[in-house]
């Protein structure tokens, strides 16, 4: 295995050389770095031109110039941005941070949702749900991202902000939403239509009711979950998790999950005490992460405490539920800050932002306000990204799942008398996941190059924006730095994908 990775790395370096060389030549010819100077009317124009020429070695032929860059790069010096004088490495660091925030969230959401919808679609092949989903994914696939982005800006931001001025949902809309929800849920379920109608109806009515209550109580201005809602959400999650992982017959796992939910609800009290929020204000991010692990660990421990033959299965269920409980608590507390955020002068009641990654005036307002600020700035670009990515993952997962469910061993599993849930999850899903899992590193690596369009439209200073701006001004150093980073990421992504393949599929063994 080690030899395999080494060989790939060596090949990768070779490819990187060739690619960066090619890229350098292209970048150097993509425009004129002296364009702005040539057009200027400053008196010391000639001197400035000479300076910049010397700095960028513009007098040297690009075919040779590459090696100047290479020599410096091998020493860790990627040059400076000729416009601002900033070292490229710093610029890359900043931009990467922004991009990771954006792309990370969007990808995780797209993958999880895509896998889920893909599986359901595959299981309900040829049904109305399947056709509907397929049509929608095709539509999303065919949408130009900038078009979507502009629309989101209009309705997502301006529209929503307007709505917040008077957050009342008219009853007709409530009815409509309820009906739509009911239909979707009913279609997604399988089985006899009576059961589907029942669940669909429940889902629809509940959605409409909840939204109605939210509308009536002005929830949108001062949101929050409260311990009761958290309890219900927790129970729901507990049921689903246990159902999917061990089956509802596994009593110990069920008890574990319930216990974790109960503990989570109890933890609501200390969570909301003011002393704790003080702690957060100082350590913010790390405290949040730390607490997450505490909850997950607690869930695990409780599962183990319940013992039984499958205590690790209970533990796993407990850990997942624990994570979710923490998420609910965190969300609830975050929401309690919404009102104060909305009322700050910089925001002035229009919280959803259309441009930029943060509100500069709110710098240093603490972890919670900062988080909300980041969220409101992220909502739109992430929605845009998810919309496009989701389509790809859904179709891929659906295709993979369909293929796997036609294999012989699925029939064998059924012939053994395994319940359908096990057949789908353990035999079908696990095999269908393999190609997806190897796709993800590649996809992520590509996305880290920055979602160029989205960042441009929404004004985020991520990698994509960096790249486009640099291209316009023919800022070769920045361009090369960008390409180096993304190229390395891509190649490493490739290697990781191959390694994952070997790990996940026992049939594939690397000859060493």
């Amino acid at each position: 295995m080690l030899r395999f990775i080494t060989r790939r790395l060596i090949t990768a370096v070779g490819v990187l050389f060739a690619a960066t060389y090619l890229f350098f030549i292209l970048a150097a010819n993509a425009g004129d770095p002296l364009a702005d100077l040539r057009a200027s009317t400053q008196p010391n124009r000639e001197i400035l031109i000479a300076q910049r020429t010397a700095e960028l070695h513009l007098d040297v032929n690009p075919f040779i110039r590459y090696f100047y860059w290479l020599a410096a790069a091998l020493h860790g010096d990627l040059g400076n941005d000729y416009k601002t004088g900033q070292p490229v490495t710093t610029m890359l660091g900043d931009a990467m941070g922004q991009t990771i925030k954006l792309v990370g969230f969007a990808s995780v959401a797209a993958i999880v949702l895509g896998v889920l919808i893909g599986i359901i679609s595959a299981l309900r092949q040829y049904s109305g749900f399947d056709y509907g989903i397929t049509l929608m994914t095709f539509l999303m696939y065919s949408l130009p991202s900038f078009w979507v982005a502009v629309l989101l800006k209009q309705w997502g931001a301006i529209g929503f902000n307007d709505f917040l001025a008077d957050p009342v949902i008219p009853p007709l809309t409530l009815l409509l939403i309820g009906i739509v929800m009911g239909v979707v849920v009913g279609a997604a379920l399988g089985g006899e239509w009576k059961r589907r109608a029942l669940f669909g109806g429940i889902a629809g009515t509940m959605t409409a009711a909840i939204l109605g209550v939210m509308s009536a109580t002005g929830w949108f201005l001062d949101p929050g979950l409260g311990p009761v809602v958290i309890l219900f959400l927790g129970l729901g999650v507990a049921y689903v998790v246990v159902f999917l992982t061990t089956g509802l017959n596994n009593k110990r796992a069920l008890y574990t999950a319930f216990t974790v939910v109960a503990l989570g609800v109890i933890a609501w009290v200390p969570f909301n005490m003011n002393q704790l929020s003080g702690v957060f204000a100082y350590t913010g991010f790390w405290a949040a992460i730390g607490l997450f692990f505490v909850f997950v660990g607690a869930g695990l421990g409780i599962g183990l405490l319940y013992r039984g033959p499958d205590k690790w299965l209970s533990a796993r269920a407990g850990a997942i539920v624990g994570g979710f409980m923490y998420a609910f608590l965190w969300l609830d507390y975050l929401m309690s800050w919404w009102e104060s955020y909305s009322n700050t002068s910089a925001i002035n009641g229009r919280p959803i932002a259309t441009v930029g990654s943060s509100t500069p005036e709110l710098e240093g307002s603490g972890y919670w306000i900062g988080t909300i600020d980041t969220f409101t700035h992220m909502v739109l670009p992430i929605s845009a990204l998810i919309l496009i990515s989701l389509a790809g993952y859904t179709r891929y997962m659906r295709g993979s799942m369909l293929e796997v469910m036609n294999f012989d061993y699925i029939r064998t599993a059924r012939a053994k008398g395994m319940p359908e849930r096990t057949v789908v999850m353990r035999h079908g899903f696990r095999n269908a996941l393999i190609p997806i899992a190897t796709l993800i590193p590649l996809d992520l690596a590509a996305l880290f190059g920055g979602a160029i369009i989205t960042e441009t439209v929404f004004g985020w200073n991520g990698m994509g924006r960096l790249f486009v701006d640099a291209l316009e001004t023919v800022n070769v150093n920045v361009l090369m730095g960008y390409f180096l980073v993304t190229g390395i990421l891509l190649l490493i992504g490739n290697i990781i994908a191959d390694v994952l393949y070997v790990l996940l599929d026992p049939r594939i063994r690397v000859e060493s």
């Binding site: 053994k416 008398g417 095999n431």
Partner: protein, 603 residues
Amino acid sequence: MSPAKKKPDAAANEAREVTTASGPAESEAIEVIPGEVTPDAVPEAGEVPVIGASHAVEVGDVVLDVTDLNVDFYVDGVWVPAAIDVNYEVKAGEVVAIVGESGSGKTQSSMSIIGLLPRNGRASGSAKLRGRELVGLPQRKLTSVRGPEVGVIFQEPMTAMNPVLTVGYQIVEVLREHTALRPEEAKERAIELLRLVEIPEPERRFDSYPHQLSGGQRQRAMIAQALACDPALLFADEPTTALDVTVQAEILDLIRDLKTRINAGIVLITHDMGVVADMSDRIIVMKDGRIVEEGDSKDIFTKPQHEYTKALLSAVPHLGSTLATKDPNRVSKNATPVLEAKGLVVEYPKQGRQPAFRAVRGIDLVIREGEIVSLVGESGSGKTTVGRAAVGLLPVAEGELTVVGKNMQGISHHDLAELRKKFSIVFQDPGSSLNPRWPIGQSIAEPMQLAGWEKGRRVTRVSELMDQVELPRNFRNRYPHELSGGQRQRVGIARALALEPTLLIADEPTSALDVSVQARVLEIFTELQREHGFGCLFVSHDLAVVEQLSDRIAVMKDGVIVEQGTTAEIIQNPKDPYTQKLIAAVPVPDPAEQERRRAEANA
């Protein structure tokens, strides 16, 4: 049969009587789920532990009662019947064989009983398992029937097992699903089951993945999995078709042995009459969805009533039946050799990181003009490789190979091109040996076209050839997918004869065909060979088929020829132990004969 496998038949019978006669549960090391069959005594080593439905039946009880079963499929707007008015019974402890060719409905009728039909299939009628109606049962209830009441063994063990889960895990999951066994207990039981099906080193194999096992071992693991919960009924759908002859013999031994040790009724679905003769108590013959005849095994074989049964039986090659007609001097000893191999070594070249593989490790073989020499062996013996080397698809690594007078080693491009007009090859799989996008007339004409014949001449010749293989002339514009397997294979033969070859390589040409179709194709082939007089290398794993048409036989194993001689010599007086084993393993479609052979082997 290998003498090492002496079964303690008497002892097993005794043990079985003890367990069936005794009442319910003794020591309760195993928890009981309410509603499940109460487990019996703690099993002894080597005996099948009885915790499932098979405990509740006695030998002779009716386990499966099928009445007026009909299976249809909805294809392109119409309901197409696959099985019509099927009626039969299966008793505990007996093996009922359902015999038929492809399309007879044997598999589908059985799958419909346990609810494993594809979505566009439906079943009507009745199938009662121990008195409980299965047809129409919703899937949820059926999952508790499959496993503890019914087990299934499928044909292709490689694809029938989940490749990412270990063999042991796949057995354990069945146990944990249907019983209350704890994980350690389930593991123990799984290992015991693996030992029962005679997988060597069961503890180690428990953690192996399916692809790490050989074909025979995988099938054994499948059997272990199917028997895990001691079902009362076992469906075996062509369990040995995908296996080598010697491995097939071992698996059949195993199943027969299990038959005496467990109470289950076994439904054996197959097309191979030899397997049927060896194993079954009763036989049901199906054709086009209907049962055409049924009865005791011996009766069917000795006194078949229905036309189809008779036809089926007569199409099955009997080992030793044509020896009397063989004329050892049919081909003169002085005829010119068309193929001569001396110390031939053929390697598969290094592919990426896989090292070169020596498939043929030094053989001597001579084929004379007009002679049919068969090369017999199991998979991996190298026989196919020899065929491919003879037509230049693989290079000669060492030794000599002279084909139609030309040395194949280092042969020049030009010479090879000339040589190509003198030999040809017929492949095994008619489905993939013809280009699916070319009309068959074009496929047949290709060798002529490459040899430079002009259009008119080609057209005439194609018509001639199609007449010779007895295909209607207007088929020339059809595509392979519109023809049946036998018809496609005849097209392959026509193509091979296009340039009047001096040497013809036939690479398992009938292995993928149904028995009756095979008979027809071989008939045509033999006629053509007599007429055209080409030398033929007939590669096969089926000794009975080979015996019918060859003058001489060479037996290959692991890349070398272990024995060769005239057909009569090899079949009647095999000298090499491997040849003897091979002959012994060929199932003979005659129950009396099979019994005799078994008695001899065990003696």
